[in-house]
């Protein structure tokens, strides 16, 4: 059994969801260069299918996909079927309220345009989190 605490870059699989093709493409390239395995989805439907069929180490999802705030659908699905999977919200709504709320709730949020360093940091933070439920899921 692979130790869940091993955060080997090569092993980490992540899902990036965004409705912009170019964004997806460039993110995939950046993350793959970093050594992660990356899956992408353009729509929330796609993302939900993928989450259902596969477990990910991190799910990064834009809040506004084909419709405003449909990213939440994805997060709900993750929480439902893959509990314990760390999520990172990508959003363009950068105001202090949202920041504060996110901090209070302990949810990772990244504000577009996203600084790549911040992106890596957020991913590493997410991977460091204990995946108790993932252990369960993988078992």
């Amino acid at each position: 059994m692979v130790a869940a605490s091993m955060t080997a870059k090569s092993k980490s699989r992540m899902l990036v969801v965004d409705d912009e093709n170019s964004v997806l493409f460039t993110y995939r390239m950046i993350l793959e260069e970093k050594g992660y395995t990356v899956d992408t989805a353009l729509t929330s439907q796609e993302a939900i299918e993928m989450v259902t069929s596969q477990a990910y180490d991190v799910v990064l999802c834009d809040l506004s996909l084909e419709q405003n705030l449909t990213g939440y659908d994805v997060f709900d699905k993750v929480r439902g079927s893959r509990p314990g999977t760390p999520c990172v919200r990508l959003t363009g709504y950068a105001n202090e309220d949202v920041i504060a709320r996110a901090e209070n709730e302990g949810i990772a949020v990244l504000f577009k345009p996203i600084d790549v360093a911040d992106l890596f940091q957020a991913i590493e933070d997410a991977l460091r989190k204990p995946h108790a439920s993932k252990k369960q899921a993988s078992q």
Binding site: V23, T26, E96, D97, A100, V116
Partner: protein, 704 residues
Amino acid sequence: MATPLLRKVLDPAASLERRKSARDSTALRLLSAERSEEIFPILLEEIVAIGFPRAFVLQVDFETGEIRPGAALNCSSSYLQKFHSTLWASENPTVSALHNLKPAIAGSANSHGERLYCHPLIYRNRTLCWEAERERRHDCLAVQNFHGRRKLQLQDQVCTTCNMRAYANVVVVQLRRGASKGKVRELSSIIELASRYLARLFKVEHYFNRMRDMDVTISQMHTVMESMADPVILTDTHHRVVMLNKAAERFLKVPESVSEGGAHAVEFNNLLFSAALSSMSVSGTESHRDLTLVDVSEGEEVLFEAVSAPTSTSDGVRSGIVTVMRDVTDLRRADQEVRANLGKLRDTEEIVRQERDRLNLVIENVGDPIVVADSAAKVVLFDPLAKDLFGMADAAKHPALVRNQAKLDAYLTAFTFSFSDKQNKPLRLYHPGTNAEVEYAARSGKIYNARGQVSFTVTVLRDLSAWKKLEQLQLERRMLEMEKFAATGRLAGTIAHEINNPLEAIKNAIYLLPGKLKPKGEPVYDILQTEMERVTRIVRQMLGLYRNTEHVGPFDVNAVVEDTLTLFARQLSNSNVKVERQLGTLPPLVGSADQFRQVFSNMVVNARDSMAQGGRLVLRTRHLRATDGVHGRIMVVIADTGCGIPPDIAASIFEPFVSSKGEKGTGLGLWIVRGIVENHGGSIRMRSRPGRGTAFKLSFPVVR
């Protein structure tokens, strides 16, 4: 009248001889009498001369009614005393003779057995007395007695014309025994002769007396005239002066020691007087004229009112004019003064009336209800608008008016008896038409009298609902501004959002570029990188502008403050920032609660950012009341003990894209805050000491 004269008897013999010529001489002798008293003695002498022993005259005293002996000849006083009698002793022959007015012989009445011849005499004359003649009267006593037309009582022997009391006498002659009838006839004729002469003399004396009486009367009148202070002038029908009193002489008679000017003045006075007389004499009755004469001795002018009346004789013929002049100088002067004062009073009245009209005009046009009350808090004046609110005294019908009156009474009483000169208080009254509650701001002042006591209070009521409407309009305008502001934000946000996505891709691509470029492309890559970062920053700032303003209405500022502090509680405690709340009681503020949330969020974050090592954050809210009791302000203070704002950017801290936070700050935070504050009609001020801390003071107007 007659004095008892006792004449000695002449020699009897001699007298007998002279009898013949005696009769002729009797008349002569009687003629020689110049006074009526002399008649009887002469008569008695003649009687004795023709042979009668004795004779005397009895006189009637009309006042006492006594009959007394007067002149007598050959009679002793004791003898005469017997004949002392009264008018009412009619059994006495002498008295009865008098009453009968006929001579009579009384015989054997006394102890001597003598016979007495009694001859009564009263004043009788054939012709009228002169006065009666002049006045053409026929009731002269003398004539009446003569004709015997009316039997006059002795008591009536008074002349009606001149009120003169006539005489009544009885001549009593003792007859010798055996005296013949002829003798008696002779006696009688002598007596009658004497009576005629007596009557004539009496008539003259009577006139003399009358004249003397008249003289006395005239001099009395003269004295009266002289004593009168007013000039009195008597003039004849030709306006010639008949009589002047002393007062008149001062004006109309030239005094001795006077200048020529004085003499001219007196002449002039006379001229004026004559002129006045002429005009007055035209009217037949009493008339008056005003006359200004010069008093030469005093040298001043005197104003007279000349009152004149015509005088006429007893038969109605005009005899002249009597003029009395009253000094009315003072009177006229007083009258003029009174008139002048009356004129001044009228002018003052007019001025007062104008002022009052002007005041009424002002009051009517002020446009606010005005109430004037007296020192007992009782209303003395309502302007028309106040009348609508409080009604007239008797309008107890409408309940709204009654309530309003009650409230007004309470308000006025409280103010009038308080110690303040002025006050501003709200007063809630009821609109009579709709019964809706209307809030007024009552502004009252006191008017003091000269003694410093309250004489009146004036209260002006300002309809706050009008103000409120105004503020409502202002608020709506502000909200519109807010909307525009928000819309702008939204627009910016939308644009930014649209830009965001391509930007994301470009950014990622730039990141991926290194290693894939030719070495020559390195500086170009650097440029790409730098500019990319700049664009990123701008877009981030613009996305920060996006806000969703939902609801505008009254909200509690304290609640928003609490929400914000709750929101940032963890962050603040993590940063070691101690929060102090000093929240006062606040009225609701009309505006956007969401926008206020943003304001406080921005400021709390700024404060937190300035206190990286921790510190203290103070949030204070306070309600400041205004003097009119209605308009106030909400003050909010957000102060920290952080690093402060450097003075070089402090001045422009509220401008967009100015930040003290370096790259972390959007530079728009305070700009947004100021925009929101101003949209709510408020103001924001900042004070900062680098190294000590920063304090922001926000102030918003609020209408209670």
